[in-house]
């Protein structure tokens, strides 16, 4: 399969993730959408790395995976904190960014 197929696949997965991120009401659901988007990026990294014959992309994938793990851990911690303070995990109810 050519590079194009991989990139297209990654684009599809990315857009699915974006859709989830935008539409999900539950904060955990939003996190899942973000995971999908990151995953799509990883596919791109690996695909480019393989097709260009440079292993740097794969190294970056490793980094990305590790950072994602840290991000998920922090994100879930925040979700639990929200539960505690607001008794809700609904992103709709969180509008602290409004001035």
């Amino acid at each position: 399969m050519g590079l194009q197929a991989y990139l297209t696949l990654a684009a599809i997965v990315f857009c699915l993730g974006l859709f989830g991120t935008v539409t999900r009401r539950n904060t955990v659901g939003i996190l899942l959408g973000i995971e999908l988007m990151l995953n799509a990026v990883n596919i791109n990294f690996v695909a480019f790395s393989r097709f260009r014959g440079i292993e740097t992309g794969m190294v970056f994938t490793l980094f990305a995976i590790c950072i994602t793990v840290a991000e998920v851990a922090l994100g879930l911690a925040i979700v639990i904190l929200l539960f505690r303070t607001r008794r809700s995990a609904m992103a709709d109810h969180i509008d602290w960014l409004k001035g």
């Binding site: 935008v22 539409t23 659901g29 999908l36 690996v46 014959g53 190294v59 995990a89 609904m90």
Partner: protein, 164 residues
């Protein structure tokens, strides 16, 4: 190559299907499990790209670690709230328009790009090469990553500490 093509298509279909299930499913717990499937399918995609090490890390860290942590979080919060977490969607049309439009434009751009290069032959063990660059060229980011993980874990445990 035929095996590679079949495998790509199989993993791709699983990945897209599972991804779709993640974002439109009605059950949060099921969504997490679908995500796990999607991550494993991604590992399969990595395998078709000869990146066995990345695939392994993907399965171990991502599919294993992340999914486990999320499941834990769900269980804990449901216990906290004392009811099932609802898992509905909002503004579906607006989200679909933006992500669909973006996808269409991306595909259009990709179809117009001249990218159809053949993959080069492997010049040795890819895993070894990755390991080498990790510990030579990317040694400093690698160490920083360790620091980041520690900080992340500490922060997470601080946020999630039990109530006084």
């Amino acid at each position: 190559m035929t095996l590679g093509i079949v495998a790509f298509w199989a993993f791709a279909v699983i990945l897209v299907g599972a991804g779709l299930a993640v974002v439109i499913g009605k059950n949060l717990f099921h969504s997490v499990l679908w995500l796990a499937l999607a991550l494993i399918a991604t590992a399969g995609i990595f395998l078709t790209l000869d990146a066995e090490f990345i695939a392994a890390v993907q399965v171990l860290l991502y599919a294993g670690g992340v999914v486990t942590v999320v499941v834990f979080a769900i269980v804990v919060t449901e216990r906290l709230v004392g009811e099932r977490l609802s898992h509905t969607s909002r503004h579906i049309v607006a989200g679909a328009v933006v992500s669909g439009g973006l996808l269409a434009l991306l595909v259009r751009a990709l179809s117009q790009a001249h990218l159809d290069m053949a993959r080069p032959a492997l010049s040795g063990d890819l895993t070894r090469q990755i390991g080498t660059s990790l510990l030579t060229q990317f040694a400093l980011p690698f160490e920083l990553l360790a620091v980041l993980l520690v900080v992340g874990l500490l922060g997470a445990s601080y946020f999630a500490r039990p109530e006084e």
